[in-house]
Amino acid sequence: MTDFTRRRAAPFARGAAAAAVLAVTALLISACGVTVPSDPDGTLDAVTGGTIEVGVSPDPGLVDTREDEPRGPLVDIVEGFASSLDARVEWTVASEETLVGDLETGDLDLAVGGFTDQTPWSDRAGVTRGYTSIEGADGRSLVFLVPLGENALLSELEAFLDEEVGS
């Protein structure tokens, strides 16, 4: 019977232990002064006040790359996002696959084009939530691609898009 009593007491001890672990973790996080979420590769920190490398893939009505500088509604949004970070945009025009490859190697910080929330690249790039009210979206739920796991940049971008174009 002694064994049984010990068992009954156990959950509370465990709950206390779990709470302690959580409290310590929370303390550690706040003590280090880290923002949550953070980028493992520090992309948001690097582009703020500097240069943001953005890849574009042409898409009628969204991105026009026939002239020197890309133009279109998506380009305007990216320019707006960059200026909110005091950043200058460096454009790269390429196919989707090349853009995704460059996101993976860290050569690009952001990729835009006709990507939708059904994009097959979601295994290889971080994908924002879908935005349907972008001009020229034409009923599509458009997304922006960032390097995998750069969650601070992703969250900053989504917060900006929520403000600018709604969800």
Binding site: C32, V34, P40, V146, L148, G149, L154
Partner: protein
């Protein structure tokens, strides 16, 4: 034949009947609760491998409940010519199925976690819009994982742990044990998500690996316990820790008969009840049927678990039989 002689008893004494009713209630409660948590977690599971693993573990934890409820249908059937031992083994079969399922899926999840770590996949968690605010999904994950831990650890885990010994039900016992250890899964997934939050991407995969190792261990434990019982290991206590004390009490009871010189038993666990073969060496060459009948009844009266008693008068005791020290 008297009632006590009935083989493979399918009815239970008062205390066990009440406990069984409660157990069935808690199993249904667990199914309802877990269905809610699975749905809730589905909304926030995101790209975290640790969350995904914890989510699948939640789904897996339904298997023992269903195994118990389905097995119960068979256990209640009376023995007949075709099934002379009754269908008590259904509980063991359910136990085995649950164990193997846990083991396989746990292994699968561990491989997934390791390959994610090796490929250095950085988990991506963005934001959600909630009541007009953009908040990081990770905070919601943490909140949900704290919320859902209440059921298994504080409500139904301890409740089942109290019923398992009364019913001598190993499936119920391991189920309760796993539920009570569920906080480890939730704590691990929270650590994983917070790891992603502070930019330590590998903490997520490490947490997922930790959770899946727990699932593998549960699977292994359940499978081993079920297999040794199906292979007729001598009956043990519900937690598999000690040989069941009833064996010694039966031997004692038999030895106290004036006509018995020595006795030993072979006792196997049928799931909820035991099947007992008792070997007795009589003092004289002649044994009366009345004596054997009386002994059998006395043994059966010892405990509700020992209804299925066969007494074999023999020359000497088999070496394998339990002479209780």
């Amino acid at each position: 034949m008297t009632r006590a002689h009935q083989f493979g008893r399918a009815d239970l004494p008062e205390e066990q009947q009440v406990a069984l009713k409660k157990a069935v209630f808690w199993e249904w409660f667990t199914i309802a609760y877990t269905t809610c948590t699975i749905t809730l977690v589905a909304f926030v599971v995101g790209n975290s491998q640790a969350m995904r693993t914890a989510w699948i573990e939640d789904m897996l934890s339904l298997i023992p409940q269903f195994a118990f409820l389905i097995a119960l249908v068979f256990v209640r059937r009376r023995p007949d010519r075709k099934h002379p031992y009754g269908m008590h083994r259904a509980m063991g079969v359910g136990h085995l199925v649950a164990g193997v399922a846990l083991f396989t899926v746990g292994l699968n999840l561990a491989v997934e976690a390791v390959s994610g770590l090796v490929a250095a996949e950085h988990p991506t968690i963005g934001t959600v819009q909630l009541f007009g605010h953009t908040i990081w999904l990770g905070w919601l994950m943490v909140a949900v994982m704290i919320l859902v831990v209440v059921g298994p650890v504080f409500i139904y885990g301890p409740a089942k742990a109290r019923l398992a010994p009364v019913l001598h039900n190993k499936l119920l016992y391991t189920d309760a044990d796993m539920a009570k250890a569920d906080w480890q899964t939730n704590a691990a997934s929270i650590v994983g998500v917070l790891g992603i939050g502070v930019g330590v991407w590998w903490l997520d995969g490490a947490a997922a690996l930790f959770i899946s190792l727990g699932i593998i261990w549960d699977g292994f434990r359940n499978t081993r316990s079920a297999v040794v019982d199906l292979m007729d290991q001598r009956a043990t206590t519900y937690d598999d820790k000690h040989p069941h004390p009833l064996a010694a009490r039966i031997v004692e009871t038999l030895r106290s008969q004036p006509w018995v010189a020595d006795a030993a038993v072979r006792m196997r666990d049928q799931g909820q009840v035991f099947h007992v073969e008792a070997f007795v060496v009589p003092r004289r060459r002649r044994v009366s049927l009345k004596h054997i009948d009386q002994a059998s009844e006395q043994v059966a009266a010892l405990d509700w678990k020992v209804q299925d008693v066969v007494i074999v008068p023999s020359d000497r005791l088999p070496d394998e039989a339990d002479a209780a020290g």
